[in-house]
Structures are given as structure tokens and as C-alpha cells.
């Protein structure tokens, strides 16, 4: 064991809070968004802000409550669980019993998630008041949004797998409603359905896993499961690997792990606040949360599953991250970036870095929400998602620009912003746990992250403006949430600096360690300067390459086109300026030779720098075009074709003649009655 590391939470917290009104009534956090949902549905339209009041009030209430819990946990540690028995089912002829309970859980992990969902949700809701102003269905939007936040709170507050699945499906439903918010356009409602279907495929794994766990130990309770997993030598051990693999499959869908990530970029069809919440604190973190919640199972019993999980996480973090390099839609850049960061979290948790993965989840929630809201402000200003319609917005929207820069630097992992600390901890954990190669993949991922963020920043905010009209800074109701998120995005990392203790509060590792059992993961006690330097260097290199490739050349329209030549085909698909289109076409047809020379010239002169960028871009296009669009989609399409074939066979039964159905129904009743009578 590395001497620099200590077992997390070696000693239990000194004075745990296990009672008191704040803790015992924490279930109100789970309920209030649903109350808001009902109030919005019934009274929303009559109010000035069309129902947003209720949604914001519910989340403000939750934020206050969660903050109190957060502070309690930060200073003393909170552990409490309340359940109500709903049903008790005997099976195997009464030999075994299965208990169904609902309730809420208040421990380190839940409190962090309560706080995250409530706080980020509140800011996003406030922002949405500005963003959705004048939308056709504001009331419905806020109702579904409340449902979304409420389902996520149920998901993270659930003391057992059944309640978690309830929240999980609620999140899926709400995301379907929100992604398809602009359902008048076919592609938007299709995106909603794609998200729903992809998640449903994964949910089969989750539900089967839950059933296996429940049947083997007679309860769905996480606490009981953790305890049994830590003790070992019981019914859980025999099924642990299968159950763990199935639960992970469920998590892959929600947390968009390769190859089930395909729904997430399309989910950008929803309004930007939805994307912000979905990508930051809600929905996609559900899978990582599930892994963290059932961490003792993976840590103690399901050792065999973890390497596979690490590999999937690593593929996700690197390969899918590359796709962000070739996107023109700013939200899709961020979407692929989210998938990549989820890959980091999943890799970390799978490798045994419970704290590392969750710490990244924590910091990521702030800066990714910030980036999405910033992108939303930009989209709001230029009325386009495409970065080819943007550029030069730095001058018009200074607040958005600076907060976006903070978010980008945090995401890229630049010292001292929050992403640096969490990413570093993931890399350190990977190294210590023996996944050296994956650690280097992670460092490569940091380079790619920095590269695409610089590209996004440069194309959006630098150079000259290429869109229509006059962009203007977003209204204050939208900029304040940006500032509110920029602060934690910048400083959240300080909460968990290895070896640094802040007076009066315990550090992040210890909050999260407040669980019914010891997690037994590793946490660096001192910062590994070499590794941190390598990670930072990779990120800085990414920024530098990005600046050279995109920052300098984006000055004029013509030069930018030259830069985008390898990407002309996606640009053609976009509704680009007609003159730009003509320019590109003329250029493409009239001067292929000049173009080739220019290209050659460029790549000789710019040498290694451009070469690296080109390579990365080529690889990205290969991954996107070859692997993602053909390989992965082939599997998906194959499944679809198989379903189609099965459907064609089965559809003969679906004649559409109601009376045919009725005849089958009555015939079935006759057969059943006979069967009952004969075999009684």
C-alpha cells in the first residue's frame, strides 16, 4: 500500500447527528417538488410567472433545508434512515419474505446529492424564468421540471432499490417530457423517444439486478445490503457478480456510458435549462450515484466485474470525448464533454475511488451547469446553436464570457479551479489501484477536454461575429445564476485538497464516508506533485493547441473557412450563410490545387502543433464516423432490425379487428376455466 494513502474514514465520526427535526423531517425535501408540480398544474397559469414561482419556492425550500444538512454533515456527520413498510410478500411457499419499504435516507452521500440537486436546480430554475420567457408552454415546462428535480431527489434519497427505481423511472419520464418539449418538430420528439428507449434498455438490467438482490437477501435496503456485502459469507455473495453486472448495466444507460451514450447528445433537443440540469446534477449522475450507493457490493464481493467497468469508463472518457472536437452545435460539444466526464466518474468509482468519483461528480455539477447556462445565454442572444453563427461574443456578453471561461478552465482541469482537484484525485486513484494505462488514458482525456473547450471558447467568444442581428448580454435573471455557479465552480475543489484541513470543517472525503459501513476506498493524503503536474501540463497543452488551431485563425471569415475545411461536410448540413456556402463551394471547386498547397504549407509550417490537432481530429472523425455512427449504430440498428422482424411475425395477430381480439379473449377464458377445473 502506498504510504501516502490512508484508508478513508479510519475512525468513525466523533459525534454523529442521528436525530433532530432537520434530519427526521428530511423527507420533505423529497416531497416538496411534487407538491410544486401539483400546484403548478392547477394554479400555475394564473400567476405572473406562469407557475415558476412554485417551482422556485420548492427548490429554495429544499436548498435551505439541504444546506442545513450539508453544514451539519460538514461539521459533525449525519446518519439517519426512516422507512415505512408498504408491503410484505412471502415467496417459496412462505419460506422467504420480501419487504417493500419507502422512506428517506440521510447520510453523507445523500446529503451531498440533496444539496447538489437543490442548489444547482434552484439556479437553473431561476435562469429558466429568463430563458423560457415567451415560450409557448412555460407552465407545463416548470411542472415537468419540478417533476424532474423531485424524481431525482427521490432517486438520491431512496433508502432501498425499489424507491430508487421509482425515482429513476420518474427521472426518465420527466426527461422524456422535457427533451420533447418542442414536440412540434419531429426530430425533437424523436430525441425524447430515443432517450426513453435507450434508458429503458438499461433499466431492464437495473430491475433484474434489484430483483436478484432482493430475492437473495429478502430486502431491498441499501443499508442492509451494504452491511451484508461488508460482512460477506451470506446469500449475497453467491449472486453478487451477476447482480453487480446488471446494476452496472442499468447505470450505463442513465449515466450514458459507451455504447449506451447515444441518447445524450440528441437529448440536446430540449430547452437549454433542461440540458443544464440533466447534465449537471440530475439524471446522468443517477448511474454514478447508484454505483456509489452500492459501492460496498462492488468493493467487497463483485471484484470480477470492476475491470470491465473500468474499461467501459475509459472508452467513454476518451473516445466519446474526441467526438466533441467535431461538433458545430455548442450544446453537442458540451454533451459529448459530459459523456466524457461521466466516463471519468465511472472509471474512478469502478476502480475503487468512491470519493474520487463523487468528488468529480460534485465539482462537475457546478461547472457543467455553468457551461450549459452560459451556452444557453449565448444561444438566447444569437438564436442559433451553431458555433459557426457565433464568434466575437466576448465584447457583447462580458459576464457570460468570463463565467464561461471559469467553467471551461474548471472543466479543462486548470489549477486552481475545481476540476483540477477532482480530476487529479481520479488520476491518483487510478494510479494507486494499479490501472496505470487507464490513468494515462485519463491524462490523454484531459488534453482532449482542454482542446475542445478551447475550440468552443474560441469559436464562440473570439474572432468576429458571424450571426444575424445584434447580440446582447442576457437579462440579469440569467446572469446571476451564472455568477452563482461560477463561484463554486472555481472554488469547490478546495474542499478536498489532499493533506489540507480547513479549520472547523471536515473535508469532503469524511463527509462522504458517513455511511452505515466503511467504504474502504483510498484517498491520497498528500498531493502527488508529479502526477498533478503531468495532468496540468496535458490540460495546458490542450488549451495551447486549441488556441493555436482555433483562436488565432478565427479572425476573419475566410480564414475560419479554411480552418473548417476538414469539417466542411458537417457545415454543409447546417444552414450556414449562403455566401459562406458559396465561398466554400467556389473554393472547393475552383482551387483544389491551391487548397492542397495551402494545406501542405499549413501543416509544414505549423508542424507538430497542427499535426497533433489534425491527428486528434482525424481520430475523432474516425471514432465518430466509423465507430460511433457505423459500429455502434450498426449494433443498435441490428437490434432494431431484429425487433422489426419479430414484429412482422407478430403483427399478423394484430389484425386491427377488435372482434377478432374479443374472440381470442373469450376463447382464452374458456381454455383457462377448463384448465383450472381440470388441473385443480
Amino acid at each position: 500500500m502506498n504510504p501516502l494513502l490512508v484508508l478513508a474514514a479510519e475512525e468513525p465520526a466523533a459525534e454523529l447527528v442521528t436525530g433532530g427535526i432537520w434530519v427526521e423531517w428530511a423527507g420533505l425535501i423529497l416531497i416538496s417538488p411534487f407538491v410544486a408540480f401539483l400546484l403548478i398544474i392547477f394554479f400555475g397559469k394564473r400567476l405572473k410567472y406562469l407557475g415558476a414561482e412554485f417551482a422556485i419556492a420548492a427548490l429554495a425550500f429544499n436548498t435551505v433545508w439541504a444546506s442545513v444538512l450539508f453544514v451539519l454533515n460538514m461539521t459533525r456527520g449525519v446518519l439517519y434512515e426512516r422507512t415505512f413498510e408498504i408491503a410484505r410478500i412471502g415467496f417459496l411457499g412462505g419460506a422467504k419474505e420480501l419487504v417493500f419499504e419507502l422512506g428517506w435516507m440521510v447520510d453523507g452521500l445523500s446529503i451531498m446529492m440533496y444539496f447538489l440537486v437543490s442548489f444547482v436546480g434552484l439556479l437553473v430554475f431561476i435562469y429558466a424564468v429568463g430563458y423560457m420567457h415567451g415560450d409557448v408552454r412555460v407552465t407545463w415546462f416548470f411542472a415537468a421540471f419540478s417533476l424532474f428535480a423531485g424524481s431525482m431527489l427521490v432517486l438520491v434519497g431512496a433508502p432501498n432499490l425499489v424507491e430508487l427505481i421509482i425515482g429513476w423511472e420518474g427521472v426518465g419520464l420527466a426527461s422524456y417530457l422535457l427533451i420533447g418539449h418542442y414536440w412540434e418538430k419531429k426530430e425533437n420528439s424523436s430525441a425524447g423517444m430515443k432517450a426513453f428507449y435507450t434508458n429503458k434498455v438499461a433499466d431492464v438490467g437495473l430491475i433484474l439486478g434489484a430483483i436478484i438482490v432482493g430475492v437473495s437477501i429478502g430486502t431491498f435496503s441499501f443499508s442492509e445490503m451494504s452491511r451484508l456485502a461488508t460482512e460477506g459469507g451470506n446469500g449475497l455473495a453467491a449472486v453478487a457478480s451477476v447482480a453487480a453486472a446488471l446494476l452496472f448495466f442499468g447505470a450505463m444507460g442513465k449515466s450514458a456510458q459507451f455504447p449506451l451514450h447515444i441518447w445524450l447528445p440528441d437529448a440536446m433537443a430540449g430547452p437549454t435549462p433542461v440540458s443544464a440540469l440533466m447534465h449537471a446534477a440530475t439524471m446522468v449522475t443517477g448511474g454514478v450515484y447508484l454505483m456509489a450507493r452500492t459501492f460496498p457490493l462492488y468493493q467487497n464481493l463483485a471484484e470480477g466485474v470492476r475491470p470491465a467497468m473500468v474499461v467501459i469508463g475509459a472508452i467513454t472518457l476518451f473516445a466519446v470525448g474526441l467526438l466533441a472536437l467535431v461538433q458545430d452545435d455548442i450544446k453537442k460539444v458540451l454533451a459529448y464533454s459530459t459523456v466524457s466526464q461521466l466516463g471519468y466518474m465511472m472509471t474512478a468509482v469502478a476502480a475503487g475511488g468512491y470519493t474520487a468519483g463523487l468528488f468529480h461528480l460534485f465539482t462537475h455539477a457546478f461547472f457543467k451547469a455553468l457551461l450549459f447556462l452560459g451556452a444557453g445565454a449565448v444561444i438566447h442572444a444569437v438564436h442559433s446553436n451553431n458555433m459557426s453563427d457565433m464568434g466575437g461574443l466576448r465584447k457583447y456578453m462580458p459576464t457570460t464570457y468570463w463565467t464561461f471561461v471559469i467553467g471551461s478552465l474548471a472543466l479543462a482541469g486548470i489549477f486552481p479551479f475545481s476540476g483540477f482537484w477532482s480530476k487529479d484525485e481520479i488520476l491518483a486513484t487510478l494510479g494507486v489501484e494499479g490501472y496505470t494505462f487507464v490513468m494515462w488514458v485519463g491524462i490523454g482525456g484531459a488534453f482532449v477536454t482542454a482542446l475542445y473547450m478551447m475550440r468552443a471558447m474560441a469559436l464562440t467568444f473570439h474572432g468576429t461575429y458571424k450571426g444575424d442581428g445584434h447580440p446582447h448580454e442576457a437579462p440579469r435573471v440569467m446572469t446571476w445564476p451564472l455568477i452563482g455557479l461560477a463561484v463554486p465552480a472555481a472554488i469547490a475543489g478546495f474542499l478536498n485538497i489532499p493533506g489540507v484541513e480547513w479549520p472547523g470543517i471536515r473535508n469532503f472525503t469524511e463527509w462522504l464516508a458517513v455511511r452505515v459501513v466503511k467504504m474502504g476506498d483510498y484517498h491520497p493524503k498528500e498531493i502527488d506533485v508529479t502526477l498533478a503536474a503531468i495532468g496540468l501540463a496535458a490540460a495546458l497543452a490542450g488549451l495551447a493547441v486549441g488556441w493555436v488551431l482555433f483562436g488565432r485563425d478565427a479572425a476573419t471569415q475566410r480564414e475560419r473557412d479554411r480552418l473548417e475545411i476538414p469539417l466542411l461536410y458537417p457545415l454543409f448540413r447546417k444552414k450556414y450563410y449562403v455566401d459562406d456556402l458559396a465561398l466554400g463551394l467556389v473554393w472547393l471547386v475552383k482551387a483544389p490545387f491551391a487548397r492542397a498547397v495551402l494545406w501542405f504549407n499549413d501543416y509544414v509550417i505549423d508542424g507538430i502543433v497542427n499535426g497533433t490537432g489534425f491527428l486528434a481530429r482525424g481520430l475523432a472523425r474516425f471514432v465518430y464516423g466509423g465507430l460511433d455512427q457505423r459500429g455502434v449504430d450498426l449494433i443498435v440498428n441490428g437490434l432494431a432490425a431484429a425487433t422489426d422482424a419479430a414484429g412482422s411475425g407478430a403483427r399478423r395477430w394484430q389484425s386491427g379487428r377488435i372482434q377478432g381480439y374479443a374472440a381470442s379473449f373469450v376463447g382464452g377464458v374458456v381454455v383457462l376455466v377448463l384448465a383450472v377445473v381440470i388441473f385443480r
Partner: protein, 101 residues
């Protein structure tokens, strides 16, 4: 009187109702057949009530409930038929095949 004379009569009425349900093309006629089936159920309820003679007259109470619900069903059913007829210029159930592949 034996109880089975009523039960078998009810079974016959019910089966006739099923037959009507399966062969009638007009939706109103289908509803008519459904009424026949509900009526058969009522006969059963009353016959059983006569056999057990419960203090609360449970069978008769439930027969009343069935009649009430049947009235509601006819109301809604005919409303739907009228709506379908208005939209498709036909109330024939075998022409309502939009749900098939």
C-alpha cells in the same frame, strides 16, 4: 325451483351476448350485445341472493350497482360511437382498424 335453472339461463344469455359481440358490425349493436351480457350477470346476482338470503341483500345491491354502471357505460359508449361516426362517417367496428399495422 332449483338455482341452476336461473344460472343456465344466464349462461345462455351471456353466450348469446358474446355471439352478438363477435358478429355485429355496427358499434351500437355491439353495445346492445354487451347489455345482454350485463343482464345475464344480473340474473346470476339475483339468483344467488335468493339462494343465500343475506341480511344486507348484497346480491340485489350489487345488481343495482351493475345497472347503474351499465347506464354510465351506455352513455359513454354511445358518445364515443357518435364521435367516431362523426369523424369517419361510419360506426362499423370492423372499419375501425387504424390500430393495426
Amino acid at each position: 325451483m332449483i338455482i341452476n335453472q336461473f344460472l343456465i339461463l344466464a349462461a345462455l344469455l351471456f353466450s348469446l351476448g358474446v355471439y352478438g359481440l363477435l358478429v355485429r358490425r355496427n358499434a351500437v349493436m355491439v353495445l346492445l350485445a354487451v347489455e345482454l351480457m350485463l343482464n345475464a350477470v344480473n340474473i346470476n346476482l339475483i339468483a344467488f341472493e335468493a339462494a343465500i338470503r343475506s341480511t344486507l341483500a348484497v346480491g340485489q345491491v350489487f345488481a343495482i350497482f351493475v345497472i347503474t354502471v351499465a347506464a354510465a357505460e351506455v352513455g359513454i359508449g354511445l358518445a364515443i360511437v357518435i364521435l367516431v361516426f362523426r369523424n369517419r362517417k361510419s360506426a362499423n367496428v370492423d372499419e375501425l382498424n387504424l390500430m393495426k399495422w
